[in-house]
Amino acid sequence: MNRHATIEPSTARLAAQSHFRTLRLGTPFQPRIDALGLKQDWYNWAGYRAPHSLWDEELEYFAIRSQAALFDISPMTKYRIEGPDAEAYLDRVTLRDVTKLKPGRVHYTAWCDDDGFVLDDGTLFRLSPTRFRLCSQERHLPWLLDSAFRYDVTVEEETEAVAGLALQGPTSFAILRDAGFAGVERLKIFNLAEFAHDGGTVTISRTGFTGDLGYELFVPAHKALSLWDRLIAAGELRGIRAIGYTALNRARLEAGLIVANADFTAAEHAIRADRLRMPDEIGLGFMIDPDKGHFNGRRAILEARARKKLRHVLVGLEIEGNIPAEHAIVYYRKSQEVGLVSAAMWSPMAKRNIALASLQRPYGDTIVDDLWVEIYAMRELQYQKLMKKAKVVPRPFIKLDRRTANPPADF
């Protein structure tokens, strides 16, 4: 509390005043990314200057699928959660059973408000029996701190202090091995371990957002550039390429993964009450473990299940033709509006026209036939309106054995 306003402000607080001159920060990797960002095609990722594309978004995409792609994930929000009660605390805050998450493992999870509406999804890294890292798209410090009441746990935001890199693609394992991370071949999917780097350590996990073989690496910000250089040097002959978000976004859609505030509206951002979503309504029902004991939102979620009050469902669609159906309206029998496509693309891997869509139940749930999407394709200042058949299909849209193969293949 700042009760005694006449206390001298900390020098850190005064030094931070100058931030107004730099509205978009660089990440710890920025010097390297700026040098490669030939297109100067930036977007705002949580206050950071991040690339849509560096030089060629097609080739950046194919780097993920055929070579190895390096994507800077430093702007992702990161919280360090530590203490004797960290496990019990996270088990209460998040949906999945944290007691089953062993040290050295990662799981994808989500967390809800009291009414069972999803606040965000993210990945939870168990770095030790009492230390975790939670990564997410949005910011949740007040929520996490308030939830820590009566738990012996500290929650600290460490987004700026920790730099993150995703290395994804078939040659990613070989690059890490060649870079000298001995033992990295022992990492199975969702495993993590610490490796020596530049007088310190780097945490490497076999995780990613592409549905491909891949890894995520976290280092203290001041070791970021040496890590980048080490990977680039080792990857030269294996086609390593830095990429921007456009390419990654395609890969994640092929993998059937959702993005907060793109495929669903996070509860703390939803101004309109009907935009809130329960886990079952955005394909995250699998995370709910009714037997694990109390977790936030449990009562509301179980009641909604019991009373069949779930109103939406998120599905994967395969749409005839090859014209992407981005933000198209979904119809039943070509006439009744039943939902909206939140992400869509022609998948170069699946050679199919794929999409994620939110539908109003029972459509997409028990009624899956006779669904259509209306695509407005702008071609030389004219809409070509297409009514295309859509089929509900399981996600992911592509399944690559190399993602989970052990030991990982040496491409």
């Binding site: 107004f20 206050g47 910011r139 410090l141 703390e268």
Partner: protein, 539 residues
């Protein structure tokens, strides 16, 4: 003898908006204004050579875009210059700024509290939800809940439906919002004193309540409402001062054939057989009109301009009890150079923003304690800005105009009238506060206009100097504004209407009361209202 179709008493912004709409509907309208200039509390006068002040109202934030469009204000010269956020100076030599960029805003808050920095999204979501609920009511006449007329029932149904459309949680929040204190509300989101003070100021501006008084959370909404429907470019300084708003309105009115008489103070409304027939000027001149519309506040209108015998007893009693307490003053300062604030770097956008020196809710509440005791605040709350950092037309080159809104200033000092010595003491409390943060400030002053509630009432005619023509507390809102049974701009006197901020939806340079009153008058005359844009949708 000529009889005008309508006579509007008072050339403030609502009177002019009302007159414009009536004139454009084909009526022959006269505006009578007691001062030698129009504008009411939205004026810009040159009191010292080369400087033009925003004498009372000082920012353009709530003015309805539908009205700007209908009355072609950009064509008649209105230009709004957006300004860049704001700041609260802290007593430890630092400051907390509000930056327009979302991430800069978060980083600035994080300098004080990482937690509060990340709490802003939820705060902003909840405030936006409430604004979205209330904002569509601004441009509608409030329903009369005791009437069974189809239109009132329809409007009540509209309100009911809007309310029923809220989730249980939102409904609870709405009721809490309309009744709780801004201090309690902010405690639910933030922990840092200066961050809470930063938001609390919108809950007390213009109100004779402290941040810990119930009802102040709503006042905050009232100040935020301009923002929700994408009224882009409507928030900022009016180029040339706030008088530019009423100058554009007057030009629009005259261009459509309207007539303005300045220097014409109304002594009373001429009433025959319970019906308004015109006005009698202070000098005795009679001007006849089929309708009379008062832009003056409800007290001035019915306690000064209308004889008691013309009014029903309960109405009169309610008007007498209508809360219209003066709570603020204004100090306008001409400066021979830009003041320096050592806490700010020279390139800080805060120079072009609104500045405050009250860094805790506790200090605001103590300032309010002085008001309750019948004194001006020894440590006042200032809303201070230097419009000439963005608008060079208001001062000679290199010189600056500083506008200081000051709270609290009571309508009476220890139960007696303000004296000149009181006024000077009040001004000194302001100057000494600024000088604490800006060394050498006193030496830059070349002229000062000090306006306590006494001056505001005497010149603008606002009873007790209340800038909203009546408190914005829940008991005086919607169908209770100004008094129950008379929330639809009509009065107990036939042909006499109200169009000032005493009526729904209340104060601020919004124009909605003037417009809504015009719609009711045209309805009574069975005239079309095609020239009035419907309120923008909030989707």
């Amino acid at each position: 003898m000529k009889a005008w179709d309508a006579i509007v008493i008072g050339g403030g912004h609502n009177g002019l908006v009302n007159a414009c709409y009536l004139q454009r509907a084909g009526l022959d309208v006269l505006v009578v204004e007691k001062n030698d200039w129009v504008g009411g509390a939205a004026t810009s006068r040159e009191l010292t050579p080369g400087f033009r002040y925003s004498n009372c109202s000082y920012v353009c934030s709530l003015f309805r875009p539908e009205i700007m469009r209908d009355l072609e204000l950009p064509r008649f010269g209105l230009q709004v210059i957006s300004y860049e956020g704001g700041a609260v100076f802290t007593r430890d030599g630092d400051y907390l700024a509000n930056y327009r960029d979302h991430d800069a805003h978060r980083r600035e808050f994080a300098r004080f509290s990482k937690r509060d920095a990340e709490a802003y999204d939820r705060y902003s979501r909840d405030v936006t939800r409430q604004c979205r609920f209330i904002q569509p009511l601004l441009m509608r006449t409030a329903p009369d809940p005791t009437s069974f007329k189809p239109r009132d029932l329809g409007e009540l149904l509209y309100l009911g439906k809007k309310f029923a459309g809220l989730s249980a949680e939102e409904m609870a929040l709405t009721l809490r919002f309309w009744t709780m204190s801004i201090s309690d509300f902010l405690d639910e989101y933030f922990e840092t004193d200066v961050i809470k003070a930063n938001f609390a100021l919108s809950g007390i501006i213009g109100t004779a309540l402290g941040p810990m008084s119930p009802g102040t959370a709503y006042v905050l909404l009232h100040h935020y409402m301009g923002d929700v429907d994408g009224s882009v470019g409507a928030w900022g300084y009016a180029r040339g001062g706030m008088g530019a708003v009423t100058r554009a309105l007057a030009a629009s009115f005259k261009a459509s054939g309207g007539t303005i008489r300045t220097g014409a103070e109304v002594g009373h409304v001429l009433i025959r057989n319970g019906k308004a027939k015109g006005v009698v000027l202070a000098g005795g001149e009679e001007i006849f009109g089929k309708l009379v519309i008062s832009n003056a506040d409800v007290k001035r209108t019915f306690l000064k301009l209308v004889e008691e015998k013309e009014l029903p007893e309960i109405f009169l009693r309610r008007v007498k009890n209508f809360k219209i307490r003066g709570s603020s003053g204004k100090v306008n300062i001409a400066l021979d150079s830009l003041p320096e604030f050592p806490a700010l770097s020279k390139d800080s956008p805060v120079y072009r923003a609104d500045m405050h020196f009250t860094d805790s809710i506790e200090r605001m509440e103590r300032a309010y304690d002085d008001w309750k005791a019948g004194r001006w605040s020894a440590d006042p709350f200032l809303d201070m800005m230097i419009p000439t950092t963005l608008d060079p037309t208001m001062a000679p080159p290199g010189k600056h105009f500083m506008s200081c809104f000051v709270q609290y200033a009571p309508p009476k000092i220890d139960g007696r009238d303000w004296t000149d010595a009181d006024r000077d003491g009040f001004a000194e409390s302001v100057i000494s506060q600024i000088a604490q943060y800006s060394p050498g400030f006193r030496d830059r002053i070349v002229h000062m206009e000090v306006r306590t509630p006494r001056e505001i009432e005497a010149e603008v005619g606002l009873t007790e100097g209340n800038i909203f023509q009546g408190e914005l507390t829940f008991d005086q809102l919607l169908f209770n504004r100004p008094v129950p049974g008379y929330a639809q701009y009509r009065s107990p006197v036939g042909g006499l209407y109200m169009c000032g901020s005493s009526t729904h939806p209340g104060g601020g340079v919004m124009g909605a009361p003037g417009r809504n009153a015009a719609a009711e008058i045209l309805r009574d005359l069975a005239k079309p209202t095609l020239h009035m844009s419907p309120a923008h949708d909030v989707i």
